[in-house]
Symmetry: C2
Subunit: 374 residues, 2 copies
């Protein structure tokens, strides 16, 4: 059996270093917002090419807090609208709602799995204030188009300002655009998740926000910590959303290998793209580059459920990311009547096949053989 | 210098066991909502004497999620009022606001530092639905009075139901009432924090909810996990608020010694109460028992700032819990005009002196000597 994802194997090489870090952590006696979080924030900001990184408890909180921060800065108000992909993980949408803003869902493009830009333009209203692309599956959204759209939008809606661009980078740690700029530096602010399965995964929950806006960063440092201005002095209605010291210390170790790990992912993706040849399967479209870090390798098949069964029977682990689109989830019942045929088709047809930096080429070869024989 | 709190010393005896747990954790390869969280939940529920415990990311989220859970159960609605101590840590009030409810602050009693019950009765309105005592500094609120109040309240307000009793147990792990029932089992639901400085402290953030209500517990398990009913299927507008596996595994080790640690705290408290004899100082009122676990030993002094300076100069670490009452915090500016003379006096006069299970009797003796010479 080739497991869909072998996290044990991914983390095994770090075992000794993790133990040493943990020992040092125990000896320090400082467990909350200390040196390790500070050091990780600096290193991750530097890695992403931004001036500020704020560690938080998870990726969902990261998105929510960015929007809360902009509300405090006076850039957003309760009830403002956020353009967001209908084809995203539901947390993107939860983050918007939890900040008291209105998610406005946008149809997907069947090739990029991201925004259909024609639909995006149709969804703009005088209340639109933010555009929030998800770099889904590890591939950057077309940020040139997004930026251009965010800038020209005022012409569409009289009186509106340039839209804020907030990116959901939970699945795209390390991805670079054509000019070499990384995920996390391609908008006004960006939210990351370090959920264990992510390309940069903690050993528990974790998240971060990256931005070049110093005012926003300062507010976020307060908002994650009960709204404290300093100890016991609350300036804002904050929450408790801190990246744990111990997780930060482990992430620092793994960050060093992120680029190498992403390249291993791309090597496998290239083989899949070259060698999977089965007319029943639609592979991801990708012109070789660094704009995709293959958090997931997602293929499509009209007979998805049969394929899923077949792969299991033939020893290939799979997961469906995701079986139900956000607008059809019970939690978002107010969206149930919305119609996104492309997004719905994607959710009906997708299946993720194994891809991770610890897969052997033998395993990759077997996955290819099995898929070609379907 | 006697430090206010020496967390390194508190955790030092566990160092080897922590390392072993961490090794086991690494070898398992399962980092989120796994066996350790499940086992801790069972053990902590059993310890508190309730049927359900739900681990969450921190104490603030615990309080907020309880109220959100009751909203889903149809017991609370946005805009309902919650009676809460004006003399509490601000997180209690933040939790209420974040759940979309209205905190109604209640004046403190100068002896118990908890509710002034006469003021509590005055604050009831037709919107009052919850009473939310904080077991502040480690001492149980008078839960007999609270329960009686929660039950008789319908007579005060026509049409109202019995009030829900939600306790903030963040400072009172293990405290027992006269009948032997523990903090966490004395209301409809209770929120705990495992912030590192707590009587049961993690090595990072953590929290939990205890309740005997199975419906509430089930909803909370979903709400802490994106509102999932099962993987990728969202029933509710949930958040991400999970107790980390690694923290749960460390808490399990420390839970075994909680009763012994609390007794060590009481031994020190007894000495302080018997031996600090200085007319300028007001000591906590306590009739010896298990209803106080002395999370903090808080004394009062009219010349508090002079005392603070004096203690520092004489090698006794102190902290002020807390310098600013919630209604005077910038974050709660809408409450700024409220008038709570007793709460304000408490905040003006309190100072916490060192008390922890790792203090030596020599240190305790020195603190007493220094205080008596003020
Ligand atoms: C675009 C976007 N925005 C915001 C967010 C929100 O970020 P967070 O709030 O940090 O979650 C996400 C998160 N997105 C994540 C998470 O929300 C997560 C719960 O579900 C999906 O991730 P994924 O499918 O990788 O996770 P999973 O738990 O189903 O595990 C996948 C495999 O990995 C194995 N496994 C898993 C764990 C946890 C383990 O310890 N050991 C192990 O062996 C089991 C499975 O075989 C989402 O993509 C996102 O994708
Ligand atoms: C009633 C009530 N309800 C809800 C809550 C919210 O719960 P959480 O959301 O889990 O915080 C609280 C939390 N209440 C806590 C927390 O919110 C916390 C930030 O501030 C106070 O706790 P405390 O004064 O013990 O913490 P502190 O960080 O100021 O540290 C005290 C001393 O301990 C030392 N120290 C501290 C740390 C963190 C360390 O790693 N190493 C170390 O040596 C430094 C200081 O000398 C509150 O009582 C509460 O009291």
């Amino acid at each position: 059996m080739i497991p869909f994802l072998d996290l044990k194997k991914i983390n095994a090489p770090y075992q000794e270093a993790f133990q040493e870090k943990f020992q040092a952590f125990l000896e320090k006696g400082w467990y909350v917002l200390g040196d390790e979080v500070r050091a990780f924030e600096e290193e991750f900001a530097h890695y992403c090419g931004v001036s500020h990184c704020v560690g938080v408890a998870n990726g969902l909180d990261a998105l929510r807090l960015i929007l809360e921060g902009y509300k405090i800065l006076g850039k957003l108000n309760e009830g403002d609208e956020v353009l967001v992909a209908s084809n995203t993980y539901i947390a993107t949408i939860l983050g918007i709602k939890q900040a008291g803003l209105i998610p406005v869902l946008v149809e997907a493009d069947i090739n990029t799995y991201n925004f259909n830009f024609a639909d995006l333009a149709r969804k703009v209203t005088p209340l639109t204030k933010v555009i929030m692309p998800t770099h889904l599956y590890g591939r950057l959204a077309d940020m040139e188009k997004v930026s251009a759209f965010a800038k020209t939008c005022p012409e569409l809606v009289s009186g509106a300002h340039k839209l804020l661009v907030v990116t959901d980078s939970a699945q795209s740690h390390g991805a670079k655009d054509a000019s070499g700029k990384r995920s996390g530096s391609l908008g006004d602010a960006s939210g990351f998740s370090f959920y264990p399965t992510k390309n940069l995964g903690a050993l528990g929950d974790g998240g971060a926000i990256t931005t070049n806006n110093p005012q926003l960063a300062e507010i976020l440092r307060s908002l994650r910590n009960y709204g404290f201005e300093k100890r016991y002095v609350s300036k804002y209605l904050g929450i408790n959303s801190r990246l744990d010291e111990v997780q930060a210390s482990l992430l620092r170790l793994k960050l060093k290998n992120l680029d190498a790990d992403n390249e291993k992912r791309r090597v496998i993706a290239r083989r899949y793209l070259a060698e999977i040849k089965n007319p029943k399967l639609t592979l991801p479209q990708w012109s070789d580059g660094n704009d995709h870090v293959f958090h997931l390798f997602v293929i499509r098949c009209e007979e998805r459920n049969a394929l899923e069964k077949y792969l299991t029977e033939n020893g290939v682990g799979t997961i469906i990311h995701y079986p139900i689109p956000p607008h059809k989830q019970e939690a978002l019942v107010a969206f149930a009547q919305l119609d996104f045929p492309v997004t719905e088709r994607i959710h009906r047809e997708v299946i993720s096949i194994p891809l991770s930096p610890v897969m052997t080429m033998e395993e990759v070869g077997k996955v290819i053989l099995v898929l070609n024989a379907f």
